[in-house]
Subunit: 327 residues, 2 copies
């Protein structure tokens, strides 16, 4: 009986989200407005009755809380004052300013009261590597070239940025758990591009430290890792970080993941968001294949990547019905 | 003793390439100018003495040879009149117009005479899936959303486009072999994003047909497949397509690839192009690790993706020396 929730379930594909978003001002204004962020987090729960709600926020609140300038440009996305050398780290504060992020924790606290008892509340953060690619690149980058170049050119300097992010991320996730988050997910969207040694150093090791710190304070709060496009390195990641659950991206064959990881860790994923756009037979076939393969191991039904804006909301109704009928 | 060549070894990082490129006019003009395309193919051979030359051309000459409008915009890249439905296929000719692509085959023919005897001449084509993402999206797209959406919405219609591309690609590669190519590489840059079923249908099956057709006519010409970011699906790809060699992308751990595929097929790859930008210890460490892991199995040293424009040419001299000293 897999629970079901979907990455980016609160988002532009929902008319009620677009209406709230218009009221908020900028995207960051929405993230920092507890009443409206609570509202958009609840919208998909009301509509679909998902088993989990994920806090509406953004991975870039951590660099923002560390003192970097972050803003969102309509039609472009996030922009940051890039930090590309060790000297550039001077523009950051010594640690996460929890005060700046207080509205995020207030949103979590509100949700912990307003959500139905049977709905889990998931907090989240970006993984240090992925957040670093934005801090260094100054925006979303296709190949993370500037960040990978710095990490090769000056690994000791880049390590300092990663260490700052490890500490900041621990602090940010602890604050969410203290405010009522019942589980947390660590999104490492850009983990896949790194070669083996760099994957170990910039993806696995920082995540291991974060999981260890969270577990020391909150041993029963599950941590979900999402090392997107890690491919054959998923088992290493799971073993070394000791996450409780792992998100599989769309490219991961479920049979391979089940054989390598089934029963050792809860698996989560991995429907193609484009199958959800298509609907009909494509959606039913793809969702059924995942459910059939994962039957009998601890599993959470989800997408392999976030919902895209052109998704017809009624396709999600159909998907949730299908997942629940399969139980 | 691994041979060495590098993907996109003829390109903008070389001052002599930039000089020739200026003479040619547009990028497509360069692809269709046999004297200049020959010259840029030879430039990295002169400079570095690579063991193989790869024809200077582009994967979009196939849609162009099928009658689609293709042009290159400076600073943007390739643009095409998108084909997004089965009805749109009417704008294509029934088969590849070899005549339109004659300059490409003439370049191959010239190279087969001008290259040193010890330098292998590699021809190439894009794989049908990857070429389709450009034909449908009208340009390079980050997530290939339009193409994946069509493939889900109307798999039978999309299959027709893939079938046209399979035939066109076979024809294009046969023409290159007839003109003197001694091996061919099939680039499936966007293979990674597809889920399991779609990977089997749109990546493996078309490639299998192409390899079978080439082998029927030229059983001794090796075919190198490059299903970029295929992750744990590399072994399925190799077995089902029966390619002679397979290019590993940067994300593939060499140890895993060696264990799964070493000795069954020649492995090729997979240095991070960004390590080549960095040079120094990062480059030496990464290249040595690959050479050590691949020692003793059939292996071609290469990158995991193409050379990037900001690569200092002298780093490649250093790399080639290192690979040759390791022999």
């Amino acid at each position: 009986m897999p629970p079901v929730w979907l990455m980016r379930q609160a988002g532009r594909y929902l008319p009620e989200y677009r209406a709230t978003r218009e009221k908020a001002g900028s995207f960051l204004d929405l993230c920092y407005n507890p009443a409206l962020a609570e509202e958009v987090t609840l919208q998909p729960i009301r509509r679909y009755g998902f088993d989990a709600a994920i806090l509406f926020s953004d991975i870039l609140v951590v660099p923002h809380g560390l003192g970097q300038k972050v803003w969102f440009e309509e039609g472009i996305g996030p922009l940051l004052d890039p930090i590309t050398t060790e000297a550039g780290l001077a523009q950051l504060r010594p640690g996460l300013q929890r005060k700046r992020l207080e509205p995020v924790y207030e949103t979590v606290s509100r949700l912990s009261h307003s959500l139905p008892a049977e709905t889990a509340l998931i907090g989240f953060a970006g993984a240090p590597w992925t957040v670093a690619t934005y801090m260094v690149g100054g925006r979303s980058t296709a190949d993370q070239a500037a960040t990978r170049a710095w990490a090769y050119r000056d690994p000791a300097g880049f390590q300092k940025l990663i260490d700052i992010l490890v500490e900041g991320t621990i602090d940010h996730l602890l604050a969410q758990i203290e405010a009522g988050a019942e589980a947390v997910q660590i999104f490492d969207t850009w983990a896949g591009a790194l070669p083996e040694q760099e994957f170990a150093r910039w993806v696995i090791e920082p995540t291991r430290k974060i999981v260890a710190a969270l577990r020391a304070s909150f041993p029963r709060v599950p941590v979900i890792g999402f090392p997107r496009n890690a491919g054959p390195r998923y088992p290493d990641y799971v073993e070394a970080t000791s996450v409780d659950a792992v998100g599989l991206d769309t490219s991961m064959p479920c049979g391979w993941a089940r054989e390598a990881l089934g029963g050792k860790v809860t698996l989560q994923g991995n429907l193609d968001p484009l199958a959800l756009v298509a609907g009909g037979e494509a959606l039913r076939g793809a969702a059924s294949a995942i459910l059939d393969t994962m039957a009998g191991v601890p599993f959470i039904f989800n997408l392999g990547h976030g919902i895209v804006p052109q998704t017809p909301p009624e396709h999600i109704t159909e998907l949730v019905t299908l997942v629940r009928e399969k139980r």
